[in-house]
Amino acid sequence: MYIGLPKRGGRTLATKKSVDITDNAVELIRLCACVLRDDIRKRIVKARDLEPKDRMSRSVFVALLENAEIAARNSIPMCQDTGMVIFWVHYPKGLSQGELEGQLKKAVGKATKKSYLRPNTIEALTGKNPGDNTGEGTPVFHFKEWNKDHIRVDLMLKGGGSENVSAQYKLPDIGLSASRDLDGVRRCVLDTVFKAQGEGCAPGIIGVCLGGARDTGFAAAKEVLLRPLDEKSPDPRLSKLEEDLVTELNTLGIGPMGFGGKTTVLAVKLTTLARHPATYYVTVAYTCWALRRYSMSMGLGKKGGVRYD
């Protein structure tokens, strides 16, 4: 049985058949892989201007900006590692999650053919690369039904190098003298960024989840990075720690690519999840300077437009 969407003015806003997001999702993938977000570009320009003219650190930022231009102009991936493909999908009541999933998978295949994505999927046991980005558990999907009448798809392309330096802590942690409080969280984030050095393509953008389970912690630490770069946590305790951490982390002097310099992170974003009494996880998701993520909002039916941001 198919349950229709709410009607407006006596007309069906959308029917199940009318929704096909495949080609729009291909465009979303292209944007993500090839076009540097403007909010990030502005921060890179700022970071460049902080570095003295003869420094290696400055030459890195200059290269990143030049790279962004070439990539956007020619629709070629900014970085050859087009990452793990992660989708967050919000959809109105009545749409089929399975169909949306199928369309997004198809979009990933098409984007791979267009070389917006590198064939990045490797079978765990055999080491075989099927070449089309299909595989068990990939791409990654997070679906949620919501009360709005449009679909929103958030996409993140998460590079492997930065994924490797991400970390999860269980507090208390004796080595870090980290107890179950915000100072403990602070210590974990300092530890992750220090250990990462230049390996995760610093300057990093850091998502942190306090609480949750092992699996949900990482998902939330990544999801918090979908928030606008300039938006602080709505909780004043967390927003203060976000600010303090950016300042402290930038005193580490690791700099872009670990060459030394004033900017080691571009932003830190914190979020929380309820936890079990026995566990207190601090999960730190490290992403590279580019934070490749875009969002697509799509209305349904004939009047449906699409917006990318």
Binding site: A63, M78, D81, G161, L176
Partner: protein, 193 residues
């Protein structure tokens, strides 16, 4: 800016020092995780000729079919530390004169650079489109079917490929220095409060 023509020799690379900006011309070979494991596990004589005197580039490119051949679209560096268990032996056994990557490598590789006369060069992570602009031609690809696009050996002809020497053949490592400096700050921050 120092020009390096590949293949190169011991004298040239020993003349380089940490902090030197170079432009690379000639033929180099990509090789990352599967490639290093392949060269390490067993001696592959056919790769000695291909690698002797050249640089190995930690990179898994984005490529596109172009007629009978390939075009490289994006080709920045991948994280080098994963090859730390293999790199010293691969340098020694195949006569590689340089390693290009990102993030730097460890003491074992640094020692091998000194012993066998080689350098480690950093390219800019994430600047794949810019790096690909220096790739003029795909000469060959080895083990593509077995390893897939990112992991295969891509033999690339490059022109003015930009990189910075960050570990030299005299035991100097920028990465070691930044690590030590940041560790002092890290310890101070952790001891606070």
């Amino acid at each position: 800016m120092i020009r390096i023509d590949l293949p190169t020799d011991d004298r040239t690379v020993r003349g380089l020092k940490c902090g030197d900006y170079v432009e690379i011309f000639g033929v180099l070979m990509t090789g990352r995780d599967a490639a290093h494991s392949y060269l390490f596990k067993q001696h592959r004589p056919e790769f000695v000729d291909r690698l002797k005197g050249t640089f190995i580039y930690h990179c898994g490119p984005v490529v596109k079919r172009a007629g009978d051949g390939w075009k490289v679209l994006s080709a920045g560096p991948t994280t080098s530390t994963r090859e730390e268990p293999f790199q010293a032996k691969v340098i020694a056994d195949y006569g590689i004169k340089g390693v290009i990557g990102k993030g730097g490598m460890g003491q074992k590789t640094l020692d091998a650079l000194k012993e066998f006369g080689a350098v480690y060069l950093s390219a800019v992570g994430g600047a794949g489109a810019l790096a690909a602009a220096s790739v003029k031609k795909v000469r060959n690809v080895y083990l593509l079917d077995e390893m897939g696009v990112p992991d295969a050996f891509w033999e690339l002809e490059v022109e003015a490929f930009p990189a910075i020497v960050t570990m030299d053949a005299h035991g100097e490592s920028l990465h070691k220095k930044v690590q030590a400096d940041s560790e002092r700050v890290f310890k101070e921050l952790i001891e606070q409060k």
